[in-house]
């Protein structure tokens, strides 16, 4: 059972090794091998079944435990796949604006970020969640700042301020919960909450923790940091963040909601209604924001804000079907949005007005981008359709009529912004100079597009995986 620490440990160990050894190509290779090894360890966890591991031999509730169950195994898989996908888009020659030794440090930070995300997903200790949240966040701030152009610094600073606020909220909340129950182990806190002598401290602590994770997962109206962080950072970071960053925060949010507080507490304090309203606002304003963007990556980032709304809509139903839909949505949206950010990487210009002619200049990229954009919209036979259909069903069954209506409106708005990507690509343009795409990026584009199509036709295994995740959470 000691192998439970490996997904977080392998990248954590690689980061200092990369800094010590240095060199841009070696660093990239080491990061890639490390994340590949971490992926293998996650695959091993799938064969292991539900298990716990007490770090340092100190049993819970005194020590820190790692808990692996059906709910976080898919998330861990997602983190490693998104990490590898991001690395495929960032071979050292794509980071030309970074002087030596910064590329090596970039890959070290990348590994640290993945390690932090994997730690959040695998720990069963509330304080340990905060520690790993800080590891991944601090690494992310620096990674965003490594983007090309001065605006990356502004985006990184904005994310730093808001992200620190979110982290502080989580810490404050965990502190309050510790005051109310005297424990930091999630399962232990859950058992102690009903008998806590300080129910108000539980309430305030819960509010802080949930608010902190809402900020980290960019739920409207706490989304201000996301467009800059996604669109100004290096493409690899955008792929990693879009693929797993906010998803892990959403996982932590649901884990705290269901694993610590439980459904009856959430209903008593109307958390489900608050989440439903925020989700509706996110779906609406995210899509409206995406329509107004003039840059491709900013458009994709705003669309992510709407998609986070969809996922939270599933969580807000507090039902098994809703959670299953939320998990399916997280996995498929990671594939689709990650793939779109892959397609956006290496374009000579990020502006939408320069998209016309792309079909002549880089046919493969144009095809992948079109298919992925249609999947984002939820066209049948794509993964996006499966996730949206499950989500709509879950919202309908739970009686959240407001959610269903806003869902439909937001999907209609999505047609508008997807059209702004897809239509210009196939327009004729005088600029026919071919775009040179490195083979690693081609591979990443093909893989994500294939996944978005295959899972659209054959979603069974993923849905079953997510069904078990929902059962484990509730």
């Amino acid at each position: 059972m000691n192998s439970l620490v490996l997904p977080a440990l392998i990248p954590l160990l690689t980061a200092p090794l990369i800094v010590l050894i240095g060199g841009r190509h070696r660093a990239w290779l080491m990061a890639f091998i490390s994340l590949g090894a971490a992926l293998l360890s996650v695959v091993h966890l799938f064969s292991l079944g539900d298990s716990q591991n007490a770090l340092g031999g100190w049993a819970a509730p005194v020590g820190i435990t790692y808990v692996i169950d059906a709910a976080n195994r898919p998330i861990l898989l997602l983190i490693m796949l998104a990490g590898l996908l991001g690395l495929l888009c960032a071979p050292p020659e794509r980071l030309a604006w970074l002087e030596s030794p910064r590329p090596a440090i970039f890959y070290a930070l990348y590994c640290l970020c993945v390690s932090g995300l994997a730690g959040i997903a695998s720990t069963g200790d509330a304080f340990n969640v905060f520690v790993f949240l800080e590891i991944s966040s601090l690494a992310t701030y620096a990674l965003v700042a490594a983007g090309p152009g001065r605006k990356a610094l502004r985006a990184a600073f904005q994310y730093l301020v808001l992200g620190t606020l979110g982290g502080s909220f989580v810490l404050l909340g965990v502190g309050m919960l510790y005051m109310a129950t005297g424990s930091l182990n999630m399962a232990d806190i859950a058992a102690l909450i009903p008998a806590s002598p300080l129910p108000n401290a539980v309430l305030v602590g819960g509010a802080f923790v949930l608010l902190g994770f809402m900020l980290k997962s960019a739920l409207f109206p706490l989304h201000q940091w996301l467009p800059g962080a996604y669109s100004r950072s290096p493409n690899a970071v955008a792929v990693l963040l879009a693929g797993s960053g906010t998803k892990v925060s959403l996982y932590a949010l649901s884990r705290i909601m269901f694993g610590v507080f439980g459904v009856s507490w959430l209903v008593a304090h109307q958390v489900d209604k608050i989440l439903l309203i925020l989700a509706c606002a996110a779906m609406l304003f995210g899509s409206l924001g995406a329509i107004q963007q003039t840059r491709l990556k900013a458009l994709l980032a705003w669309s992510s804000i709407a998609q986070i709304g969809y996922i939270v809509l599933g969580i807000s139903t507090l039902s098994e079907a809703g959670l299953r839909a939320a998990w399916v949505f997280m996995l498929f949206h990671a594939v689709i949005k990650g793939g779109l950010f892959v397609c956006a990487s290496g374009l000579p210009s990020d502006r939408l007005e320069n998209l016309p002619g792309l079909a002549q200049r880089d046919p493969l990229r144009a095809a992948c981008m079109t298919l992925l954009a249609l999947a984002l919209l939820g066209v049948p036979l794509t993964a996006g359709f499966v996730s949206k259909w499950l989500m709509l069903q879950a919202a309908w069954d739970s009686g959240a009529l407001l959610g269903v209506i806003v869902f439909a409106v937001s999907s209609l708005l999505a047609v508008a912004y997807v059209a702004r990507i897809v239509l210009p690509i196939w327009q004729h343009s005088d600029n026919t100079q071919p775009i040179i795409t490195p083979p690693t990026i081609r591979l990443a584009m093909l893989l994500t597009t294939a996944a978005a199509l295959i899972f659209g036709v054959w979603p069974g295994p993923v849905i079953e995986l997510c069904q078990r995740a929902a059962e484990a959470l509730l």
Partner: protein, 152 residues
């Protein structure tokens, strides 16, 4: 950065205080499992000694005594030392960071040894990162050339 003051009193007193600061840092480091202290505090105290030296004798002298290049190697080494203990215990079939693996016949001794080693890792990393931050801010105009030259 040039020395801010040529005062003989300041320089003599500083020279006498610095060894005591460093010695106290080592005491806090290696006595941490009995008394108040530990790797983090020791790292801060140890770095404070060098910061004081840089304030009185200038950044150039300080970075000759403790080059940024060395600090860039020490910081990851500290992390590796910490994580290395964990990996060693994993490889010996114990839980991550279970110090018993270091000396299974005498678990109490193993706990002592384990905490000393990982706190040394913490101290190394905290010391070098704090000093690197100080160097980066104190020599801000040259920060780019500093990192470039010293790591490559």
């Amino acid at each position: 950065m040039t020395p801010k003051s040529n005062s003989a009193v300041l320089r003599v007193v500083t020279k006498q205080i610095i060894p005591m600061i460093l010695l106290f840092g080592l005491y806090v480091q290696f006595h941490g499992e009995y008394g108040p202290g530990g790797g983090f505090q020791a790292g801060v105290i140890f770095a404070a000694g060098f910061v004081l030296y840089a304030l009185v004798f200038g950044l150039d002298n300080a970075s000759r005594a403790m080059p940024a290049r060395a600090l860039f190697k020490l910081a990851p080494l500290g992390v590796l030392l910490f994580a290395g203990v964990g990996v060693y215990s994993l490889l010996r079939g114990y839980a991550f960071l279970d110090y018993t693996a270091i000396d299974p016949h005498d678990p109490v001794h193993a706990q002592h040894l384990g905490i000393l080693i990982i706190e040394l890792g913490v101290g190394l990393t905290v010391f070098s990162v704090l000093l690197l931050i100080f160097y980066a801010f104190a020599g801000r105009r040259r920060a780019d050339s500093l990192t470039h030259k010293d790591m490559g």
